[in-house]
Amino acid sequence: MKIVSSWLKDFVDVEWTPQQFSDDLTMVGLEVESYEDLAATYDKFVVGKVVSCEKHPKADRLTVCRVDVGSEELQIVCGAPNVAPGQTVPVGLVGATVPHGQHDPDGKPFVLGKVKLRGVDSSGMICSAKELGLGTDGDGIMVLTTDARPGTPLAIALQRNDVVYEIGITPNRPDCLSHLGVAREVAIQTGGEVRRPAITLKESGEPAAKLASIEIRDADLCPRYCGRVLSDVRVIPSPEWLQRRLELAGVRPINAVVDATNYVMFELGHPLHAFDLDRLDGHAIVVRRAGPDAEFTTLDGRSRQLRPDMLMICDRSRPVAIGGVMGGENSEVSETTTRLLIEGAYFLPSNIRRTARTLGLSTEASYRFERGADPEMAKLAVERTAQLIQELTAATVHPGLIDVYPKGMEASRIRFRPRRANEILGTNIEPSAMRSYLGRLGAHVTANGEEELVVVPPSFRVDISEEIDLIEEVARVHGYNNIETQTRSAIDFSIPTAPARVADEARSHLIGAGWREIMAISLQPETVASLGGPAPIKVLNPVSAEMQALRTSMIPGTLDIVRLNLHRGNKDLRLFEIGKVYRRSSENLASVEDVVEEDRLMMAWAGVAAPVAFDRPSREVDLMDLRGEVDALLRRVCLDKYRFLPYRADNTLTESALSLEINGTYGGWFGEVRRDIAKRFEIEVPIFVGEIALPVLEQAWTRDRTFRPLPRFPHVVRDLAFVVERTMPQGDLEDLIRLTAGPLLESLVLFDAYQGAQTGGGRRSLAYSLAFRSPDHTLTDAEVDAHIRAIVDRARSVCGAELRS
């Protein structure tokens, strides 16, 4: 909402600087987002009177002038042909910044200094309209028609001294969507008086009631409708002062009639509409729901589809306006209009909002009505508009305001307990002070016993309906910063403390292990979200197709991040994310229970297996590298309560994958991204990814661990190398060794896996290091040998594994 300083001063006296004004209004909830001081442009420019002119002794084209600028008489050398004694002129003093440099090709501003022109001193400059940015005339100086005295700041003489404030008005304060409304807030701060415009109408001619009729059929949606009838209207342009104010407020002037309705809206906050009375069938206004009327053309020329419950302003036969939203083409004021019906009404906010949203049509009027207009203002606003049109066009105002207000509006009476206000605020404000604060708001306050007040808020404060609203007002007027801060001891044993979370454990492990945490956007293209699983949850009103569906897996989004990094030359990527994936648990999304949100841990690795070092050849990452990382993470979090299984399901994202079983439950998978999927993301290098379900990990998280005594007897280490068929999985042999060795086998490490000429075609060598230990005695060679023999025998008979010598 734009507030023009001179306009505001019509209603309240205020001497604040723009900065103070901004700060003070911001503090009470009217956030001044920015302001523009138009006068600053003409700082150090004043009105001057040319006293005398003499020819320059050395230059024909120059004139040496004496100019009265109020405080002194200046000698200024002027190059303009039209300068003459007696003229009132704009003078730039030394130090002024001329907005438009005449001699600069780009017209850059320049600062005036004290100069000598061909040997003659010149202190300042008499300016042309072009130099001041006030017109195109640059040939001669600007001669002013003002009767302002010499020395008057030019901004004041030209009425360009406004400050325009941009104020963000929160939805609860529609009463501040006008100059009068802001003036009221200023007056609360300054303790000053608010001047309401005085209405002086010269009524003549036939009574309005004989020329037009107003009938409200749906009073639930329109409790009040006021109308004024004017004739002999001339649809002419508005005077410059009015046009200028509208422009500063951000509205394009159109003609005196339309401008007057806009002007009064920005002045008093009440939206108005002017109908061409002669285009109303039966000269009648009927306020009713649209009913069967299905289509309507608004005055912007667009055809609108109506719904039966939209409130329409109609004449005898048809709708002529969408109530509170926009007028119709069929009753619009045109150049030939001579008779008007001015509407000032009050509409039910929720219905206006529904209508505006359904039509996708938000106007200055609907904006105000949907937030809540002041039903009592409807009348004053119509009178004010009639008065203004009469002033601007010499129109005839017909006697009588037509005011249809069948039920009136009941003012709320609110019980207010000063003690309660102090309890909520943590203050000791005197009840008498509270009473005075509420009085300053325009509320009517009466005592109701010792402890209680009864408060009737002013009709424009539609946001005040209960005690808490008044408590806020008391705090606001008292000043939030005048309330002392307090703290209480934080210790309260009945409040639970935040539990430790496995996500934090996993995160700190991975960061320590050299993984970078990323955060991706949960919304992605539907095609991408579909890669991760079944039909994703879609947003009905996306900002773009790029952000239409919620991710069902974190992998596809990560591939997009990998693509971006690869494109930018970041080749080695070890990324993880802790976040949510989303899927539907039933076909329709009728409630939140139809959605499953699951916390996941995602890991992705591309590039080298280890950072390149001077004596370490670089090698590309492979699946076993990722398996080692997952292993380390799981061992830390849940000891040995997990295992890897070949992933045999038809996974759509990866090939050669492993799935993870944690505590007997499926807990995730990892593998290499399929080439065709990677190509969709323009990724040409191998990339290994995995996802772990954090709830499963959380379940298995072993935090309560019991001490195992450290071994007291030495271990015995034996190495065994087998040659097996290449097709035999290492895991089979490993399982067999563990099973055969029994509980004395403390650890088993595969330290070499080799396949080549020495092993013969189709066979490979697997070398293990086995450590045996007994908890209760030192193992003898004989004991260990017995185990080794058993292992070798079973390996041969079950796996066909030959011992390598």
């Binding site: 309330i483 935040a498 960061i511 900002v543 989303y582």
Partner: protein, 334 residues
């Protein structure tokens, strides 16, 4: 015999200082400690000593051998280690490891949590795909209320949406617990706004709520000031100004002096000298009633921080999209 022992001792001591390289060491070893060296020679002559003197001379000889061996060993250790040192190029780089990093938003969330947990707040979470009821209606945004314009919403069905703030979790936790309730609610939220340097459909909030007997607006101020001083430093200046949220009343915004320009005014603070850091207020009595609390018995305050906004301001990042692009060159800076 004793004289000869002392002679050898003196000779060995005299050479000790010159044992600075392998050659000198070897000569020393040969002349004193080898099988034909002077110490061994003296041991050979022990058999000529009388039986009565033998124990004393033998003891002296052993002491000599220990001392000479000590001179040799000490010198050799020095020579060896210096030889080894000179064979390493000390300017070689270390063999690098992968470096890890924590996402900036995640770092900031943790910092918020750390401070509030230290003040006795619990941490709770709620769903991101939320019902219209919890996101709006329960928080005093009736249908067809203009306050809904403050938060442009993504809908996934007519009654289910992506939450626009973490405030619905306040209602959910109050429904489950009896006062006192004191918790923060971090999480991801969504707004249907055009993508720009300042807005990116999703961001994170940390909401907080405290409901108990006699909780006041003055305490809300005290708590937020305590937070701001811990997070931004104890020298900050602050102000509270009136604002509007449907779910709190009175509502307030807290500003702190812009730390980029120290309050003088700059582009970041839009020349006001102030930065808005948190919206807050007293929990609206209607909400207390809706969760079954008696507003005459208990009162509460609530607040909500925007995490990304804090991150951008604090780290001088001018485009929110950088946070979610996840360019490694960005990630490794934090």
């Amino acid at each position: 015999m004793n004289d000869r022992i002392e002679q050898v001792r003196a000779a060995a001591r005299a050479e000790a200082a010159s044992l600075t390289n392998a050659d000198a060491l070897e000569r020393f070893r040969l002349s004193f400690l080898a099988r034909k060296g002077s110490v061994a020679d003296l041991f050979d002559q022990l058999r000529h000593v009388t039986a009565a003197d033998k124990p004393a001379v033998g003891k002296a000889l052993n002491e000599l051998r220990t001392e000479v061996q000590g001179i040799y060993d000490g010198a050799k250790e020095k020579v060896d280690s210096s030889a080894q040192r000179t064979s390493i190029d000390l300017t070689l780089p270390g063999r690098p490891l992968f470096a890890g990093s924590r996402h900036l938003v995640s770092q900031t969330l943790e910092e918020f949590q750390r401070v509030f947990v230290s003040m006795g707040f619990d941490i709770v979470e709620g769903p991101e795909v939320e019902s219209d009821y919890y996101n709006f209606e329960a928080l005093n945004f009736p249908p067809d209320h203009p306050a809904r314009d403050m938060q442009d919403t993504f809908f996934v069905s007519p009654s289910v949406l992506l939450r626009t703030h973490t405030t619905p979790v306040q209602v959910r936790i109050m429904e489950k617990r009896k006062p006192p309730v004191r918790a923060i609610m971090p999480g991801r939220v969504y707004r249907n706004e055009a993508v720009s340097a300042r807005s990116l459909v999703q961001f994170h909030q940390v909401d907080g709520v405290y409901v108990d007997k006699g909780v006041t607006f003055a305490e809300l101020k005290g708590t937020l000031v305590a937070f701001a001083k811990r997070y931004y430093g104890s020298s900050i200046k602050y102000r509270f100004r009136a604002s509007y949220f449907p779910f709190t009343e009175p509502s307030a915004e807290m500003d702190i002096t812009c730390y980029l320009c120290a309050g003088k005014g700059c582009r970041v603070c839009k020349h006001s000298g102030w930065l808005e850091i948190v919206g807050s207020g007293m929990v609206h009595p209607n909400i207390l009633k809706r969760v079954g609390y008696d507003p005459e018995e208990v009162s509460g305050y609530a607040f909500g921080f925007g995490v990304e906004r804090t991150v951008l301001l604090r780290h001088g990042i001018d485009d929110i999209r950088l946070l979610y692009e996840n360019d490694v060159r960005f990630l490794e800076q934090f």
